[in-house]
Symmetry: C2
Amino acid sequence: MHPVAVVNANGASPIVFVCEHASNNIPNMYHELGLNAADKISHAAYDPGALGVLRCLVNEFDAVGVYGTVSRLIYDCNRPPEAASAMPAKSEKIIVPANANITPAERDARTNAVYVPFTNTLADIIAQKGGQGIVITIHSFTPTYFDEPRHVEIGVIHDDDPTLASACVTELQGDGSFVCEINEPYSREDGVAHTLNLHGTKNGLQNAMIEVRNDLIATPDDEMKMGIYLAQQLRKTFKSLGIDLNEVSA
Amino acid sequence: MHPVAVVNANGASPIVFVCEHASNNIPNMYHELGLNAADKISHAAYDPGALGVLRCLVNEFDAVGVYGTVSRLIYDCNRPPEAASAMPAKSEKIIVPANANITPAERDARTNAVYVPFTNTLADIIAQKGGQGIVITIHSFTPTYFDEPRHVEIGVIHDDDPTLASACVTELQGDGSFVCEINEPYSREDGVAHTLNLHGTKNGLQNAMIEVRNDLIATPDDEMKMGIYLAQQLRKTFKSLGIDLNEVSA
């Protein structure tokens, strides 16, 4: 299977929604990485609910969606090849046996099989936006982390330029439907801004990462409602920033 | 929200895939039907995984997909208005408080709000196939039922004419990847063939219902793999029946 999928490739919006952790697919050649059945379908292997939210946002904006079709435990497409966490041996409490002692040759092979086509496809799509794209990545996080409950429900994370993320948090907090914080539950200091940096910041494009607590997007209906809600908040956000999505679209 | 959604409306295939139980959405006006949070996201409210399988099948065949966007506990679109089970007061062990004493006026209101647009949309799409459509409904079922484990993994159910369902079961059993039975875990005697009958049989079209055990389609990846697998088996099925999907397409 090709490691990257594109939804609504000809979408007219300048926005490109990205979900690096959409799938828990582990191709047969990796022998399930030594994971047990429960861990293979856990949040360690992917971001539950994120793909459904992305599909809805793509639909709401007539945007392009790009998502990974391979588990982040094979290769985490939100990490550069040089990061150890690109092929994590551990995720929260879950051990990934086959990632404990990866040889340099195996790292190269996975990078070429997964990361290279993912990042090249995304780069091509953003290039088609002619310097006027907007990059928004969609993730989900767990309600607890090492047994501690997380009270934040939606986090918005920025790379170098906080403009889009800050404006979005202002709208979300003003609306008040969910507990929203900037740079929670992660920030770029945790290494989660790779896609934003490479495809957004380095192209001079507005960018932000949206993290949704996965208990809020546990069914197709909840995914859709969250997608529609985020679309509403993003429309207000762009308006507040004076960004006309029609004006900048290709 | 409109109670019915169409995927790939201009798909060239004669096949129309239908998922009546895609969503657990309960519009606000119904006050969650008195359900608790766990029941609201349970299999009683929808068929987990079925929508993802439908999306994949639509993609594999360039087919049209039609799915309901409202929980079957509001109105089960695979039931006619006269069936008590169209607005069930109980589903396996789950009680639906607001459905215990529905007035005739409320029944009519839900029928008009959900069933009528759903069935009319589906009828219009099938009419566009010019008498050459094929109707396949996609459902999921639970691994246990009243505490008894279900060993069947894929069931194929027929209405009056068993041709398509029988041929499909022959392929699935011949392949042997999953435990497959005809008319399991339900049959039309359980009232589950309404869509097949109304939109397939009465139009003289081939039709069948595919039921997948929901533990096999618990993640986007598993949904996709099952969709690709079912597409392979359906291609063999149509070939065995001498049905050329290209020839009969519009």
